[in-house]
Amino acid sequence: MFSIHRFILLLIFIIISVLYAVFSYFYLDDQQSKTDLVVENIRQDLSETAYVISSEMDGIESIQAFKAFLNRKVANTPLIRAMVVSYRNQILLTTDTAITQIPPEKEIISKFREVSNEALIKHLKFETKARFYIQDQPHYFNLLVYIDKDYIDHTFHQHTLNFLVFFGLIPMLILTFLWLVLRLYIINPLELLRQYAYYESKVPKRFEIKEVEYVRSSMVQTFSRLEHEKKELYKLARTDNLSGLANRNQLNERLSWLISEHSRSKSEFALLFVDLDNFKSVNDSLGHDIGDDLLRNVANLIQEVLRQYDIIARIGGDEFVIVLNHYKNTLELSHILQRILDRLSEIHIVQSHPVRVSGSIGVAFYPKDGADTTSLMKNADIAMYEAKKSGKNQYKFFTQALQQQVVAEIEMEHNLRNALKNHEFQLYYQPKINIETDTISGAEVLIRWVHPTKGTIPPDQFIPCADKTGFIVELGQWVLNEAIQQQIAWKKAGIYDLKISVNISASQFLDERFDEKLKRLLESSRVDPTKVDAVSSNNCNF
C-alpha cells in the first residue's frame, strides 16, 4: 500500500520517464532528420555543381574556369567550408589553398543514404564522382565538399541546447512546480487530515481545494458532534437524570479517588447516607411527579447548604450520599448535618402543594468505619437506619455496637428462616374462658420457637427481629395456616369447635396480598370464617 506522497512521486517519476523517453526518441529522430536535411543539401550542391562542371568543361585545362563558380558557391553556402576538384588523386582546383592533399577515402562520405549524425560530425567531407569527356572518351573527376565544422557544431549544439531547455528543463520545472502545488494543496492537507483523524490533534486550517475542504469541515463537524456526544454520554453515565447530582458511578469514582488521596495523607472524611422520611407516602398520596419534583428540591437544598467541592450523589429513590472532607472537627460536622436536616424539614412547596418531609442521616468515617467504598456505604446505611429507628429527622454516627446489632439481626433472620424450614416453631392454644358460663369460648394462638440447642425461645426474643426484617409476613402466614388446620382438626375430631384468635402483625396487614392469601386459605380449608379471629397485635403478644 502506497502513501499518497509516494504514489504521486511515483506517478511524477513515471510521467518524467515516459516524457523523457518520448523526448529522447523525438530528439534523436529530429537530429537524424536534420542530418538528413543537411546531407540532402550537400548532395544537391555536389550534384548540381558536378553536373555544371561536367557539362561545361571542355577538358582538364578548362577546370580553372570554374574557380569563381566554386568560390561563389562556398561563399553563398555557410554550410560549406571549401570545395575541391580532383582528378586521378591530384587536386585540380580548390577554394581553400590550405587543402593540399586529398583526404584518405575512409574519411570521406560518398554514399548519401542513411548518414548518421555522428558520421556527419566526424567526417565533415563529402564526395561525388562526375563524368566528363575528352573528345568522345569518358573521364571522371571527383568533387569534394568540406563542411564547416563550426556551423555544424553550432547548428546541432544549439539544437541540443534547445532540446535540453524546452524538453528537458522546462518539463522538469513544470513537474517540480506541479509536485509542489500538489504537495501544498493535496498531500499536506491530506496528511493533516490523517493526523487530525488519527490523533485528533489541532483542527487544520481552512483548505483551498473544495473537496479537501469539504472533508475537513465534515471531519470537524463529526468530531465536534462526537466530542459533544461523548461528553453528554460521560455526563449521563455519571449524573443522575432527575436531580442533576452525581450518580452511583460518579460517586464510586470520586470516592475511590478520595480514598486513595486520604490514604496517603492519612486524613479523615465523612460519608453521609441520607434517606428521606415518609417519601413513599408523598409518592403514594401526591403522585410520582410531585415526588420527583420534591427530590429535585431536596437536591437543590442540599447543594445550597453544602459547598462546591463536597460530593453530593443520588443513589436511589430517596437516598442521597454526601461526602464531606473539609471540616475542622466533629462539632462543625454536626452543625452541617443539622443544617441539612433543618433545611430538609422545611415545608416544600411542590407544584403548589405544601409538602413536609424530613431526613434521616447515617454517618460513617473514613478510615475508622470503613477503608473502602462498600464498607463505608454499608456502615453509613446502618447508621441511617439507626437514625430512622430512633424516630427519624436526626443523624446517627456509625458505632461498633450498631455494627454488632446489625450482625446479630442478620444472624437472627437467618436462624428464623432455618427454623421455619426445620419446623422448629410450635403453636400453643391458650383457652378463653367465659366467666359467666364458665365455658371455653375460644382459644388464642401463641407461638414458641423450640430451638434444638437453646430450648424454648419466647416470642419477644425473635418476633421484633422477624418484624424488622419482614420475615413476620411469612411467619404470620404459617401461623394462620397452622391455626386454621388445627381448628378444623379439632372440629372433625369432635373435640372442640372453638373460635381461634390469631395475632396479625401490622406488617402483615400492610402486605398488599394479605387479603387475597387469607381468602384463599379460608376457601381451601373450608373453615367457618366466624371461627377465625384475626387480631392486630403489637407483636409481643404472639
Binding site: S47, Y51, S54, R113, P138
Partner: protein, 296 residues
C-alpha cells in the same frame, strides 16, 4: 453524454493518427527529360492524376541530366533510351525496363550545316555537338558507320540540347559541324538552316526506344502504383488522340518552347508503344539485351 464524447474523441484521435501515417508514406519519384515521347507522363501530372497515386514527376532538359540526377538523388525511376539503360545498368544490375513509351521514328536525328557528301569530302576537323552521355553517342556512331565517315577527324562538343541550340544560334559556325539531336530541338535547328542527314526513320540502322526504368526492388515495392501509372499513360494517349490541342496545352510547359504545329510535327517523329509490342520488335529488343518480360 460524457461517455459518448470520450468515444468520439478516441475515434477522432485514431482517425487523425491513421491519416498522419498515410501522409508520411514517401512518394514514388520519377525523373524525365523534355521528350515528346514522355508527354503522356506530363499530361498525367498536369491533369492531377498522379497525386492520388503519390507519384512525383520531375522534368529536366537533357537525357544525360536525367540519368545523372536519377543516380545522385537516388530517385525511384527514370525515363530514357536503351543507351541510358545500359549505362545505368552498369551501376545497378537489377535495373529493369517496366513501361514502354515510344519508338523514335525520326525523332532522333543527325543534322549538319553541310550535306553528307560535303562532309565526306571535307578534310577539316568536323565539330560534333551532342549529349555525350546519351543515346546521341550511339546514333552518331551508327551514322558515321552508315555514311562512311569513320575516317574523319571529329571534335566532340559535349553539351545539352538547349545549349547546343543556343551556341549554334549565337555563333553560326561556318566550319563543318554535325549536331546529334532530337525533337523538338531538331525542329529549332532546322529553322536555323541545318539539314537533317539521317534520322531514326531513315538513314540509321539504330533502334531507339523510350521507356521507364526502375530497380527490381522498387518495381516490386510499387507494382500497383506502376500498373496504375501505365493505365494513366494509356489514358493520356487516348486523350491526345481525342483532342491534341487540349493535350498540347497541358504538356506545353514541359516541352521546350514548341508551338502547336511543331508539337504536331514532333508526334509524327515517334511511334507510340503503349499497346502490346509486335513480336519482331520484341525480338530486336531482346537481341540488343533489352529485356521485355517485365514490361507492363
Amino acid at each position: 453524454m460524457m461517455k459518448f464524447m470520450k468515444v468520439m474523441l478516441l475515434l477522432f484521435t485514431i482517425a487523425n493518427l491513421a491519416s498522419c501515417s498515410t501522409q508520411t508514406e514517401p512518394p514514388l519519384k520519377i525523373i524525365a527529360n523534355s521528350w515528346i515521347g514522355y508527354s503522356p507522363l506530363f499530361y498525367a501530372k498536369e491533369s492531377g492524376w498522379l497525386k492520388p497515386l503519390n507519384i512525383q514527376v520531375s522534368t529536366v532538359i537533357s537525357l544525360g541530366e536525367s540519368l545523372n540526377i536519377y543516380e545522385t538523388a537516388e530517385l525511384d525511376a527514370f525515363t530514357g533510351t536503351q543507351y541510358e539503360y545500359s549505362q545505368a545498368q552498369q551501376k545497378d544490375s537489377s535495373l529493369l525496363p517496366i513501361m514502354m513509351f515510344d519508338r523514335s521514328n525520326g525523332g532522333d536525328s543527325v543534322m549538319a550545316n553541310q550535306t553528307i557528301k560535303a562532309l565526306q569530302q571535307s578534310t577539316e576537323t568536323i565539330d560534333v555537338y551532342l549529349e555525350m552521355h546519351s543515346v546521341n553517342q550511339l546514333i552518331f556512331k551508327d551514322f558515321i558507320k552508315q555514311h562512311q565517315l569513320t575516317d574523319k577527324t571529329f571534335n566532340f562538343i559535349n553539351k545539352d540540347q538547349l545549349k547546343i541550340y543556343s551556341i549554334i544560334k549565337s555563333t553560326r559556325p561556318s566550319n563543318p559541324f554535325i549536331v546529334v539531336t532530337y525533337v523538338p530541338y531538331s525542329q529549332k535547328l532546322a529553322k536555323l538552316g541545318l539539314q537533317e542527314l539521317a534520322s531514326t526513320r531513315s538513314g540509321l540502322d539504330l533502334l531507339v526506344v523510350d521507356a521507364l526504368f526502375t530497380p527490381k526492388k522498387t518495381f516490386l515495392q510499387h507494382q500497383t502504383q506502376f500498373a496504375q501509372l501505365k493505365s494513366l499513360i494509356n489514358q493520356a494517349i487516348i486523350e491526345l488522340e481525342k483532342n491534341p490541342f487540349h493535350y498540347y496545352e497541358k504538356v506545353k510547359p514541359h516541352l521546350e518552347n514548341t508551338g502547336y504545329e511543331d508539337f504536331q510535327a514532333s508526334l509524327k517523329e515517334i511511334e507510340w508503344l503503349n499497346t502490346p509490342l509486335k513480336p519482331e520488335l520484341i525480338k530486336r529488343l531482346n537481341d540488343s539485351h533489352f529485356p521485355t518480360r517485365n514490361l507492363l
